[in-house]
Amino acid sequence: MRQDGPKVGTFFALCLLAALLLSGCNQEETVHKNPQDAIRDGWALISISDFDRAEIAFTQAATSSAPGSRDALLARYGLANAYQHRRPAPRSTDALKLYGEISHEDKGGEIGAWSALAVARINHVALYAVGREVPPGSPTGTSALPSAVELDVIRTQYQRVIDAFPGTLAAEEAAICIGNLLIEQIEPTRVAAGIKFLREWIALNAKSSYLNNAYRAIAVGCDLLKDYKGQLAALLKASECRIDTDADRSSEFYRIAYVADALAGEPDVARSFYQRLVDNYPTNMRVFLCKRALKRLPAPPTVLLIKEGAR
């Protein structure tokens, strides 16, 4: 017991060391047999935001799959996603680089298209990052919004996706992005341009799965321009060509009914949609308002939502 001091010291040193070692070996490695499984696991891991292991999985898949094969592309696409989405510190530059490569290798192909879109998307979203240092001229602080110039750059990037990958889903999504990008600038001429763009696009792609999104965007645009008839029309179209028909649509119905009722002056449309809401969602809280409205119609609502007061 003479050497008490050092004993105590070493004891703690050891136990803490042990703890550290233990902490090292708490992540078991998973070895995958074929690339497909690795890729699936990778995405599963991304979805539980375990990005380290996701990267490992995708890298394994990339190495184990034949170069140039679809698997190889998917694997690297996954890897790029892992880079892009990791929190708290996304590896955006790596992601951009990898996406760029993929979009070059897979010319005109599906994955290439998504990668190209991802590039534009990353740059687009980056403009809305918190505490982004903003170029002079635009309002400062977290309330800063991207300037028209910056957004135009993004717009060309989206446009490139449309041109380089015709006929892909990604291209269609890119079009929607352009429409939204114009409308989200609030400034009337831009909004009008956005609406025009989308209407033309719809004319060309009447079959697209993105019609719903397109019309939703138009609706918002018309709302901003106080073109309530247009808004109503768009809303109606949007609800017609909705793909996930089994979703909860009570608020959608109500919005249509309300716009028709209070803003566009279409009592019949209003009545039908109030009624639809009451019939389809009897326990929804809005039923109360709908029934009040139904009693009142066709008389216009007493208190109009004073949009002028808003903007």
């Binding site: 001091g5 050092p6 010291g9 040193a13 708290p88």
Partner: protein, 332 residues
Amino acid sequence: MKGQNISLRQARYHLSIYLFLLPCALFIGMFAYYPAVNGIYHSFFQWNGGDVDRFHGAQSYSKLFLADTEFWLAFKNALILGIANIFKMAPSIVTAVCLHRVRNARLQFVYRVAFVVPMVIPILVTTYLWKAIYDPSNGALNTILQSTGLMKALVWISSSAAHLSENFDPLGFFSWLGALFRAGENPAWLGTPSLAMLALILRDFPWVGTFGVLVYLAVLQSIPRDIYEAAEVDGAGWLSKFRYIELPMILRQVRIMMILVIMGSINDAGLVMAMFGIEGGPGGVVQVPALFMYREAFQNQNLGYACAIGVVMFAVILICTKLNDWLVKPGD
């Protein structure tokens, strides 16, 4: 007294003594300093503890100093509490002195034993108890006040204070006092904004902290008996003995206790939270800085901001203790 100074040159003969630092250094370093330093580091970040960890310089601090007036108001409450707590140290001192003057050794021993036992009561229990005592309709306090007629006295004080306040009212003190107690009304100690702080201060009457008593007692023990005898020969009375013999002895402990008390009143959110809830009472009349910090950390998940608040609070405490050192000179 201290160990002698060791110069660097001599140090090599004593290097082994640094090993003694190892255990506590490991403990403190790992589990006390790392989190604390980590906190200071993160006070310059926008940090939610998880997936948001963004450096944004001293923004937290500037926001805290410029925008957050309520935080500084919380310090006002802490100040009131602190001052009150300092006065609340007196009973402990008195008790200690009385205990010290108990001549019979056995009896004194028994007393001291008795003083230690209540330390085991968990704070949760005392909180329940005091909430029950303060209950307006069935609480012990109001019952006592009513039955002893003290309530009438209080009401009288209030009303006369109200009268006074009409022509002379420093810091609105009298008007405050004037509004406290009304005839035929049970004061709601925890519910009335004007009473809440008072209730918080009155809590734990008679404010005899066991630890404090024992510490003072410890010092008093070391006063040689002959001094007292000498004093008695000079015909020193109860008070003068205290003034000239005992007080100077314990002054240093008083100072230490004072520091602890000040720290407590700034750092402790638990008591207020338990008595008044997270918002710090009606109108937030009793919210203390620590409460503010707690809310930022665990309600608003602004951990970075909370860390900044922590740093500021620490700075304030540091200043207070320095002031204290400088105001209250050690007795010896």
